[in-house]
Amino acid sequence: MSSDFQWSLRGRCYKLGDNVPHPGGVIPLSLITARETDPKILIPKLFSETDPGFSTRCRPGDLIITGKNFGMGVKSTGYIAMAALGLGLLCESMSVQAYREALSTGLRVLSPCPGILELCERDDDVEIDYRTGEFINHTRNLRKTFTPMPPTLQELVAEGGTIPWLAKWWKTTGSKEVSS
């Protein structure tokens, strides 16, 4: 695991409600059905249908903080863009299959974070440590500790997601093993 990986993110809060659908609510459906995976193409389209220009205004470290059932499904398209922009994601809840897809892209994501929407408003100065689960709202001087990212999944995120993780695994371990 990269020792210099940034587990703690601090930036502005981008607050969303419950049941935000992946198609339309996160990224246009056309890019999902096209199975587009190129971050350069996806970045300008992140939240483009609900907040045009989002990608030009956000900064690395900003935290997307959502209500329940974020992403609603098993698509990973929008998470690729979030990861490439250096954003973090904190959800009251998301489908475990959506969580799997998000982690697979290397996105720093914490779910479930029950009650987090009550602790922040848009543009608050917020901070999260994904390894300890400690959340701080510097604007409102609020703190809460959520269940951290499971240690067994930290390596996956630190390597940048499933494919980079697999590439490293193959180089260091897999290619030396004999197939059973």
Binding site: V96, E101, T152, L153, T162, W169
Partner: protein
């Protein structure tokens, strides 16, 4: 505190004395399944890294069920790629087009998916394994990691128990229970969130043969369940023992297992259901929709592709004709059922009725590669779901019903109550014993 069935299966495959819902484990699966629709993208990803083998070829089951009949050169090229992939990966079992059928049906019929098993699958409908008391878990594109390393992370799902009480009424089938259940959850009468839960059935289950148990697994999957579990009956165990390709040990939840919640459903209250377009949970009693003219009907899919489903259809169609305004497509779940249909006279019944029989596999239910609907058409089918555009035009109306309801509607040319259509009693009575040894 005891353990649920999924906790026991994941403990065994993870080499741990006990795991609990919420734990993250890396199970060593009994099998790994991948279907023809995704082999290409997965293999290209692995090849780019240089991963030119799979960890355990003996566990790999590759199936061609999504595009069985190549409708164009793109599909045929994909078939070429997939055969090359199977050879390079040294796949232990490869059931190509025309060899097996639907990957979520024939492995159960042929004793490859057995009680107590755990396997990884790229596809959501792996939950069908619950019909024999096994677990198949969808991991989507992470099947690449499973193929390469042998495993991936799994969060142990919580389990919700649903007790079925009473007996199914006249003309009511297991698919109707699923639609009715989804309707009750949507309306809030059953306060359940199935997202990534295992739905475990309990109660009066002996009335459900293996074929009906497969149907019980379908709709909860569309409600985003991670798994469905039907505790195997002696009848199911006997079938599995007679066909087993490997030893197996059935697993059951302990009496004091921890369920997230427990609910009951009164089967006596269930009428034949039809789901309005858009979602499985849009179900209503058939009487509310009876009379709507249809032009497309389809019986098959992993939800209704067992031999008993074909018997249900035949019991309606025998001696009748598909209405002039409708076309009926029948897709058996397996090549085995296809042969049996021919041996036992069902094929003749279907052909004489004017129905079209397609090769075993997913049929129209996979992205309309065959038998789609056109704009403005009205369809009733046993597809897994009726999400807009599921099989063809987004301008079409897709209704869902049981095999009996769909067959009756095809004959009448409009959505119909099967209880008002005469059935062939001899064929109907054979349904229950379709998988009895």
């Amino acid at each position: 505190m005891g353990f649920t069935a999924i906790e026991k299966v994941l403990a065994r495959t993870s080499g741990q004395p006990g795991v609990r819902a919420g734990d993250v484990v890396h199970p060593d699966p009994d099998m790994v399944m991948i279907h023809d629709g995704v082999v290409r993208e997965i293999k290209i990803k692995l090849d780019e890294i240089g991963i030119n083998r799979v960890r355990d070829p003996g566990k790999l089951l590759m199936v061609t069920d999504h595009e069985v009949v190549y409708g164009n050169q793109r599909s045929a090229d994909k078939g070429v790629f997939n055969r090359k992939a199977a050879a390079e990966w040294k796949a232990g079992r490869f059931y190509d087009a025309g060899r097996g059928g639907h990957g979520h049906i024939f492995p159960m019929e042929r004793g490859m998916v057995l009680p107590g098993m755990f396997y990884f699958d790229n596809d959501t409908h792996a939950t069908n394994a619950g019909a024999v008391g096994a677990f198949g878990l969808r991991v989507g594109s992470e099947i690449a990691r499973v193929l390469a390393t042998g495993t991936t992370w799994v969060q142990v799902p919580k389990t919700v128990k649903l007790e079925l009480k009473g007996r199914l009424g006249n003309g009511v089938q297991a698919r109707d229970i699923g639609f009715y259940f989804a309707r009750m959850v949507k309306s809030g009468e059953l306060p359940i969130d199935l997202d990534y839960r295992v739905l475990e059935y309990a109660g009066d289950l002996d009335q459900f043969s293996l074929g009906a148990r497969v149907a019980l697994c379908s709709t909860p999957t569309e409600m985003r369940a991670a798994g469905v579990f039907v505790p195997p009956s002696n009848e199911v165990l006997a079938y599995c023992k007679a066909h087993a390709t490997r030893p197996f040990e059935p697993v059951y939840s302990d009496p004091d297992a921890e369920y997230e919640s427990c609910h009951t459903l009164d089967l006596n209250a269930v009428e034949p259901q039809v789901s309005r377009p858009g979602n499985v949970a849009n179900a209503v009693d058939v009487s509310e929709l009876a009379g709507i003219e249809i032009s497309h009907a389809f019986i098959g899919s992993c939800g209704s592709g067992m031999y008993s489903d074909l018997l249900a259809a035949a019991s309606v169609l025998k001696g009748k004709k598909v209405a002039p305004n409708a076309r009926l497509i029948i897709v058996p779940g397996s090549e085995q059922s296809m042969k049996r249909m021919t041996d036992e006279g069902l094929m003749q019944i279907f052909l004489e009725s004017g129905a079209m029989v397609m090769p075993a596999g997913c049929g129209p239910c996979n992205d309309a590669v065959v038998g789609p609907v056109g704009a403005g058409e009205v369809s009733i089918s046993t597809a897994t779901n009726n999400n807009i555009g599921r099989f063809g035009s987004k301008e079409a109306s897709l209704y869902l019903g049981s095999p009996l309801t769909v067959a009756a509607s095809a004959v009448m040319g409009r959505i119909s109550d099967v209880r008002k259509v005469p059935l062939d009693a001899a064929l109907f009575d054979r349904m229950e014993a379709a998988y009895v040894i």
